[in-house]
Symmetry: D2
Subunit: 328 residues, 4 copies
Amino acid sequence: MLDIAVIGAGRIGRIHATNASRHPRISLKYIIDPVDAAAAELASASGAKVADLEEALADPAIGGVIVASSTDTHLEFCKRATKAGKAVFCEKPLDLDLGKARAASAQLDNARLFLGFNRRFDPNFRKLHDRIHSGEMGPLETLHIVSHDPAPPPIEYVKISGGMFKDMTIHDFDMARWILGEDPVEVYSTATAVVDPAIGAAGDVDTAKIVLRTASGRICVISNSRRSGYGYDQRIEAFCAKGLLRAGNTLSSTVESWSEAGSSTDPLQNFFLDRYADAYRAEMDHFADILDGRALPLVGYDDGVSALAIAEAAMESHLTSAVVRIRY
Amino acid sequence: MLDIAVIGAGRIGRIHATNASRHPRISLKYIIDPVDAAAAELASASGAKVADLEEALADPAIGGVIVASSTDTHLEFCKRATKAGKAVFCEKPLDLDLGKARAASAQLDNARLFLGFNRRFDPNFRKLHDRIHSGEMGPLETLHIVSHDPAPPPIEYVKISGGMFKDMTIHDFDMARWILGEDPVEVYSTATAVVDPAIGAAGDVDTAKIVLRTASGRICVISNSRRSGYGYDQRIEAFCAKGLLRAGNTLSSTVESWSEAGSSTDPLQNFFLDRYADAYRAEMDHFADILDGRALPLVGYDDGVSALAIAEAAMESHLTSAVVRIRY
Amino acid sequence: MLDIAVIGAGRIGRIHATNASRHPRISLKYIIDPVDAAAAELASASGAKVADLEEALADPAIGGVIVASSTDTHLEFCKRATKAGKAVFCEKPLDLDLGKARAASAQLDNARLFLGFNRRFDPNFRKLHDRIHSGEMGPLETLHIVSHDPAPPPIEYVKISGGMFKDMTIHDFDMARWILGEDPVEVYSTATAVVDPAIGAAGDVDTAKIVLRTASGRICVISNSRRSGYGYDQRIEAFCAKGLLRAGNTLSSTVESWSEAGSSTDPLQNFFLDRYADAYRAEMDHFADILDGRALPLVGYDDGVSALAIAEAAMESHLTSAVVRIRY
Amino acid sequence: MLDIAVIGAGRIGRIHATNASRHPRISLKYIIDPVDAAAAELASASGAKVADLEEALADPAIGGVIVASSTDTHLEFCKRATKAGKAVFCEKPLDLDLGKARAASAQLDNARLFLGFNRRFDPNFRKLHDRIHSGEMGPLETLHIVSHDPAPPPIEYVKISGGMFKDMTIHDFDMARWILGEDPVEVYSTATAVVDPAIGAAGDVDTAKIVLRTASGRICVISNSRRSGYGYDQRIEAFCAKGLLRAGNTLSSTVESWSEAGSSTDPLQNFFLDRYADAYRAEMDHFADILDGRALPLVGYDDGVSALAIAEAAMESHLTSAVVRIRY
């Protein structure tokens, strides 16, 4: 069994701890969190023990560490775990500050850091990616990503989130890079705060359309909203030379009603932890393969930096109403 | 141009008269109806003139007659028009009395009588039929026909309709024969009057499930209701050795809404004259081809008798709660 | 934790053992199987130990037993476990012999026997059931169940299966009873062996349409095939006075392609263990509730007998080509 | 009856002539085309007579003129018909030159000129428009228009088309204005010639993404391709505060197949004259209402100028890679 520690007993930490504890090849040994009660509760629920980071890193049995703490601690914990020789599975984003993220290159740009862009592990999007790259539909020409959340986060979270582009669109930037198969070189972004004036007052936006263009001329449009009004809208359409490949939403059940008003489905799955439950499990499989030496991380440090670089350029485009060259 | 006369200025007569008047190869010359005002109104709207049947049949320019009068007059008008050497396009059913319909064999079983089972001319069902018979999915094994009306007809109509099996299911019996490509040999039918007690009081039923079985072992299930509660439900599923071919309903528009309650479409097309508008136009094309000598009727006298024979057997099965051998 | 034993290390036993081993309230203690290697392998994989039945039943810590052995042993193991005071979760069917099943009434018709009709625990069908019974669409009038397998089982299995009605349709009979909310009183069934002549040679059928009718006049049609050609087709349509409620199939992904040939989805989920994975987990939750004393079995001995009684009547109807009164 | 003349016997002229000849309130009197044979053929097919423009305009019985000639003649014929006191139904675009179109303001900005932006008359898009404007989903926030053609036009046509923005996107600019309910004030456009290098060599593009922004902050994304590879893709999604309203594509039939490869529909309707057949008929109804004095044109001169102004700004944005302020 592959012994690991989880840093962070919050929402996403609990997901990873649960998946690790049920994984046939992984043994979850330590939970680390500055809030003792949270650490204790998660340790109890997942059959692990509470530890502090030094203890966990000093344990030679520990092969890997999952960094699921607050964003501002990601880089520091990644560096320490890497230095201790552990494989690392770090939640996105690497950091909110592109400069700080870049400065960690020497320590983190390696073959043992796995950055958790979970959507790459969603079975639907992975299948879409693979079919696009199989060439069955001819070359990919343009891409549409719709990524609308059911409802905005609390305004307190918004204020420390780094802004919508780094907090939410960062996933879509990563998806765009992954599916396009090349880096966008310029970005145009236009955004508003129409969902909640408090978001605007906090200097952030909640609605955006972003256009990315690659060196070879591929174009990607991203649509974002912090509040859809109809659940968690996660769709991708890939326009290829011979046709369209698309991946759609998942409904909460297959039940439909037909009445004189028309036919109605059940709602979209509404919560990202449900929508991406399979993806989180697949991430844990991938981390087990990294721990085992069977695989190199499919997503790593440089992917985290690139997504951040696009997010900064998108923000600049929004603020200047101009097309911005992306500096990686 | 091919000159024709239309007998009957009621609902279906108006459909045929309008389609005939707009047809590039047909010229609608006469409207015949015992109700003078109805005849006059339709003649005016369709650019024809009012006539009586003798006059129309005596006119050598008239090549064909559309019989869209009340059911009890179908056989008589078909015989007279046939005797006068006209091609005939007769509405279904031939008659409500199987014995009377059979007795007309000598006069009507010919190459110039076209019986208007409109669903065979629906582009969707025709495409389904053609794909089934192309063999692309392997041999047809079983068939499901769902045929539910939006709402029951007036009780006065129900009383003279000949009963649901002869009035409504007759279409489905014809579709079954056409798609199965062979005649069913036995039928089981179970039915209720749950939509409207008045229908039951009138000795009729409004809800039925009917199972047909052919000599070669193919099985067809028909589902009928006089009232769906959700529009005009017209679906066929053909289970073949290699997979399923199906034809579905048509919606009144492509507009959808997605809200927290789920996604909703517009209603099904609700009225048979809308749902089968293309089919009625295609019937007129076919009648023009018959008038021209380019085609023999795709549906004729014997199809009308066969559908009636199945309807009588289905009624007997319902009344006796037994499986009934069909006597053609 | 609630300690349990699993009898049977075959396909379905492995499913239940895995779900039990991952369940937060259940502790899987023993695996029992006459094939030592199978028992040992499953015990190892699920963290349990191999035992014989006497040992397991004698252990006072064991609160419940899952009977997932071959069908002909179900009744015997259920009786022994019940006699030992254990709660029982028994796989369907109770037995292939209705008389033997009935004879066990005194021992098994109790509040601690849970019969595993898994489809009642499928979230889609459960939601459908609940919405039908909520009355939102008015009274249920008729019901259509389509239940087609992807491919027939091996002919050796077919020969000992008790026939399609007891082996496969038994699920649909249970669904019909559950959704109709009342017992059917008569059945008509017509069937063929068109999928594989060897099935016919073995005296069984592979394709059937079955019509059930309840005392109150509700009608249910069941469609069965041992081989769909297009995956695992599991659909239910409930025609109510105010409209239609239906539950559909689940696809293997949300990916679609659109080309000049039309649009294409991914295949249906093809394997019952995938299609009903959530249902099997929900069954384990329910069994934990029974063990805990929080719940009485939602499906029990009498449900097993009733489904068998319908299956025997359906077989008789098929063999006699007559409508058969069901004797419960 | 309302007598009219049609100028132009090409593809779109034939559509309008046919619809006019079948319209119950319109009488098609003259066909005008410099190519005598084309004029004669269409006149014969539609029951009209060939005329020259002077003759038609001098005929006091003629209430209206349909201008369906080549684009460079639109302004001239509109002016002459208007001067002669006729109502005008002019095909889009008004002209390829914004300056020339603007210069015609004094003569054409009146209550008797109907500009044929046919998509406003599509029943699906009209229903979408009406539901958005009903406010049922709350305020409209952003809009996505997908408008991809099945295949590019001949390169000779491309060269004289005025470029994709004026020839094809012009429809989408009009739809955007109509549905947004306000004029966009700035545009960003990025485009390529990836479908056919000859289009690029001719100085045109065949693939574009365009972002419009209104004064109130509404954002609209338009996606264009001259070749979809999967038929005529015409979709609109309107993201409102309470949910999504969308209108989708129309398929060539309702037939589906399900096999081990998945389920497949028939192709999208592939040809704009089929896809928008209802829209062209509805345009003729509207023109009859204008001729009758029952209605003012729903789309007029200023709409034509505005769409052209957006097209010019979009072209400038594409050429300069900058966001461009639209000058109306």
